[in-house]
């Protein structure tokens, strides 16, 4: 295995980490309107991710930064090519981050309600758009000989990619509902369970359609195996939440996300952004990567930093392991 292959794996791991962690953050954001019945319940949901959402989001920054360093051509083509969708994601992440921090800073009804709307929409939209983006990456987009994206915005909104968006949205919301059941106490916990059950069924159906379409189009032996893992994991996760085994369900909904992202990257390899115009214009691990020196340097950094990050982020989850219910909420506005 060459270094750029290793870095393909590292980028895949960073995206997987991002979708696993911010997946349930986005899900919780969507559930504030889907599951919560009143403001205290919305606050319970938001507080399950309160201490951790910011750290989870850094996985995205790491994925982007590592792509810049390890595959500059990929970074350049992807970010300039998907200009408007990424702009929308950026706006959402900005508003969402501020919404978390500022919502409680005033007690006015309008103030709180507006931030709650913002939180919902700015969780929903990125959850869809990341699926659309990855659908397009996997499917291939119009890249010319200069490695530039030459398609338009509407080309990105094709049925396959939109289905991808529906998959990430349903998968993240399911994952979020399981997380909510795992982290809350009281009545909302039980409603989260039943909500998770039907969300899980929806996610399973959509994921099956999308992954089988992917497999039929561009599949390989390895992607088929992982696809089966993804669908089985979803089935187990749904079964577990029905049986009230929240921890197991969360592990398996997480595994389903891991496996789905793995299918994306397995189908892609060795390309990182296939061209739909001409195969020889595709960006691949070898023609998009940095020099061996930079990759070696980055490998040391990732080798030391990533386990440490996992260690102290896990510790955070352990510190805040207690379930949250409406009785635990401090007074609003402080």
């Amino acid at each position: 295995m060459e270094l750029h292959d290793l870095w393909f794996v590292v980028i895949a791991v960073l995206w997987t980490g991002y979708f696993f962690l911010e997946g349930f953050d986005f899900g919780i954001g969507v559930l504030t309107k889907l599951l919560a019945r009143d403001r205290p319940e919305r606050r319970v949901l938001i507080n399950t991710i309160g201490p951790v959402w910011d750290g989870n989001e850094v996985w995205l920054l790491s994925a982007a930064g590592a792509t810049f360093a390890a595959f500059p051509e990929w970074y350049a083509t992807l970010f300039s090519g998907f200009y408007l969708p990424l702009l929308a994601i950026l706006i959402c992440l900005i508003v969402r981050g501020v919404a978390f921090e500022y919502r409680v800073k005033r007690s006015g009804e309008r103030w709180q309600r507006n931030w709650e709307h913002a939180l919902f929409w700015c969780s929903l939209l990125p959850a869809i758009l990341w699926g659309v983006a990855f659908g397009n990456i996997v499917h291939g987009v119009e890249i010319d000989a200069d490695k530039e994206y030459v398609g338009g915005l509407l080309d990105l909104l094709n049925p396959y990619a939109l289905l991808g968006g529906a998959v990430t949205l349903s998968l993240f919301t399911f994952h979020g509902a399981v997380f909510a059941a795992l982290k809350t106490t009281g009545e909302i916990r039980y409603r989260a369970r039943s909500c998770a059950t039907w969300l899980g069924l929806l996610a399973t159906g959509l994921a099956a359609a999308f992954l089988l379409w992917t497999q039929a189009d561009q599949g390989k032996g390895s992607s088929l195996a992982v696809l089966i893992v993804a669908l089985l994991a979803l089935a187990v996760a749904v079964g577990a939440i029905r049986a009230g085994r929240e921890g197991w369900s969360f592990a398996f909904s997480g595994l389903a996300i891991v496996a789905t992202v793995a299918v994306f990257f397995l189908v892609l390899f060795p390309a990182v952004m296939p061209s739909s115009l001409d195969e020889k214009w595709s960006l691949t691990v070898s023609n998009a990567s940095s020099s061996p020196y930079t990759l070696r340097l980055m490998s040391w950094c990732a080798l030391i930093a990533t386990p440490l990050v996992l260690l102290y982020q896990s510790w955070t989850y352990w510190v805040f392991r207690k379930r949250i219910g409406t009785q635990h909420l401090a007074d609003s506005a402080h």
């Binding site: 201490p51 951790v52 750290g55 995205l60 920054l61 360093a69 702009l87 981050g97 978390f100 020196y293």
Partner: protein, 507 residues
């Protein structure tokens, strides 16, 4: 092509707007993290309530501020690829590495430990709680260092070679990129200025309350801490600015000549106090100068030669081919002056304040004030009159944002002074822009960012004012008795009582 119509112009405006805006929050975040951690450490060590109240007060303002810093920072990570894709292709091998290091090492630190700090008051023993804020502070400083090393490479590229096949810059010595004198001087200068900013912020807000005689014990402590920070950081900012200037005279003579509107080289070279001139003809029509001082700034003596804008332009034309290698002179000239002017005013007011509020040294016993009193402002041996005192407090409040203005101009000067280069001597800004992104798309994104940022600025400032006016919080029994076990509780069998207690902080 006329710069106003060039394809890169809009992207430059967007980068300028989003980056200057982002950098309003960065210096405050860097300095307030350390200052808050310092105050909390004082609480842990002494057990004095005023330190805990100060920690909570400044911590809250810090959080309102860092939230904006974090979210506007995401844009930075994306827009190199979005708007400057050809730049990203050219420099990714070199420039991407410090950015990735920053994310993997510094951002994770900051964001994880800030979550622990915000929600950890009733979950962590106080020593671990304060350690979290120190980790955040360390994260902010590391983050600053990596990004400044990356920027320094754009100012003075080192440790790379140009690949013949692809024409890209490739990294050959990362250590050199991290430790070249440009990076060291720039990090020193930027971090010192960040603490000047936080110090002035603290002084201004403490002065606001002290003028009204409110929250005196907390604000008196904050005032002293702020004043000392302003004076030390202000001195270091000046020293490091001088160092950085000398580095720049060597590495980018054009930037420094533009900063002084020095059109033709002189020996000895004068420092310009005021100049007005004609950019096309290349001379000043009005110039007020102090002889020899520019030579001193550049080379530590009052007689040596400093090349002018026209000389450097000619030299660069010979080296890089025909073209205009001059930045926008008035922006460089005035940016340099606003940076120094606002920064030094803030430092001077801080030094004055530190002298006026001195305690034991040289102060007659009868003029000393207790910890619970508003400090008396004493110029020599008699206190200032009521009117003059009020004026000092007012000035302190009004000038709290001076270092922020200085910092913004500092960046505008250093980035615009480097033009037309994006990487000095290697790669020009006009070649850096994304060829596939249309002008319409950039107009849209720039409009959206500008409007959103304007709205958020209003919200942020209003929140800051609200929490400044509210003053430090009253302490509860729980605040004074933080848990002794990780996860909460005191380990004395109060487990059941703990179960349904409200969280110390919740969103």
């Amino acid at each position: 092509m006329d710069l106003a119509l060039a394809p890169e112009t809009l992207s430059r405006w967007q980068f300028g707007i989003t980056t200057v805006y982002h950098f309003l929050f960065v210096p405050l975040t860097i300095s307030l993290a350390s200052l808050t951690a310092g105050l909390e450490t004082a609480w842990v060590r002494t057990g004095k309530e005023k330190y805990l109240r100060a920690t909570m007060f400044w911590g809250k303002l810090f959080l309102i501020n860092i939230a904006m810093g974090v979210v506007t920072g995401i844009v930075q990570e994306f827009q190199f690829g979005m708007n400057w894709s050809d730049y990203s292709r050219f420099v990714g091998d070199v420039f991407g590495a410090p950015l990735a290091f920053e994310a993997l090492i510094a951002f994770f630190f900051e964001s994880t430990f800030i979550g622990l700090w915000i929600f950890g008051w009733d979950k962590l023993p106080k020593r671990i709680h304060v350690a979290c804020m120190w980790m955040v502070a360390l994260g902010t400083i590391l983050s600053a260092y990596f990004i400044l090393a990356a920027n320094s490479w754009m100012q003075h590229p080192v440790g790379y070679r140009l690949d013949k096949g692809s024409g890209r810059a490739e990294l050959t010595d990362f250590w050199l990129v991290l430790t070249q004198n440009t990076a060291l001087a720039q990090a020193f200068h930027t971090l010192a200025a960040a603490f000047l900013t936080g110090g002035a912020f603290m002084v201004g807000i403490a002065a606001f309350h002290l003028r009204r005689g409110k929250h005196v014990p907390v604000m008196r402590t904050s005032l002293r801490l702020g004043l000392i920070t302003v004076v030390i950081a202000g001195l270091l900012t000046a020293v490091s600015g001088d160092l950085l200037g000398k580095v720049m005279f060597k590495q980018q003579p054009m930037k420094m000549a533009a900063a002084e509107a020095l059109w033709d080289g002189e020996k000895p070279a004068p420092f310009s106090v005021f100049a007005y001139g004609d950019v096309d003809k290349g001379h000043n029509s009005v110039a007020v100068q102090i002889p020899g001082v520019l030579s001193f700034l550049a080379h530590d003596d009052f007689s040596s030669y400093v090349p002018g804008i026209n000389d450097v332009n000619k030299a660069e034309q010979e080296r890089f081919g025909p073209g205009d290698y001059r930045p926008t002179i008035p922006v460089a000239y005035w940016g340099f002056r606003w940076m120094i002017g606002f920064g030094m005013t803030s430092f001077a007011l801080g030094a004055l304040g530190l002298w006026l509020t001195r305690k034991k040294f040289l102060l007659p016993r009868r003029l000393r004030t207790g910890e619970e009193e508003v400090p008396r402002l004493v110029l020599l041996r008699a206190p200032l009159g009521a009117r003059l005192s009020r004026w000092y407090w007012r000035l302190a409040v009004w000038t709290l944002a001076f270092p922020l203005i200085a910092g913004s101009w500092g960046w505008i000067f250093t980035e615009m002074g480097r033009q037309p280069w994006v990487v000095y001597g290697l790669f020009q800004t006009r070649d850096a822009v994304s060829p596939g992104v249309s002008q319409g798309e950039v107009i849209l994104s720039m409009t959206v960012f500008t409007l959103l940022y304007a709205v958020l600025a209003v919200i942020e400032v209003r929140l800051l004012i609200k929490y400044v006016k509210a003053g430090p919080p009253e302490l509860t029994e729980d605040d004074l008795h933080p848990p002794t076990r990780i996860g909460g509780g005191h380990g004395d069998g109060d487990g059941d009582a703990q179960q349904d207690r409200p969280m110390a902080f919740s969103y």
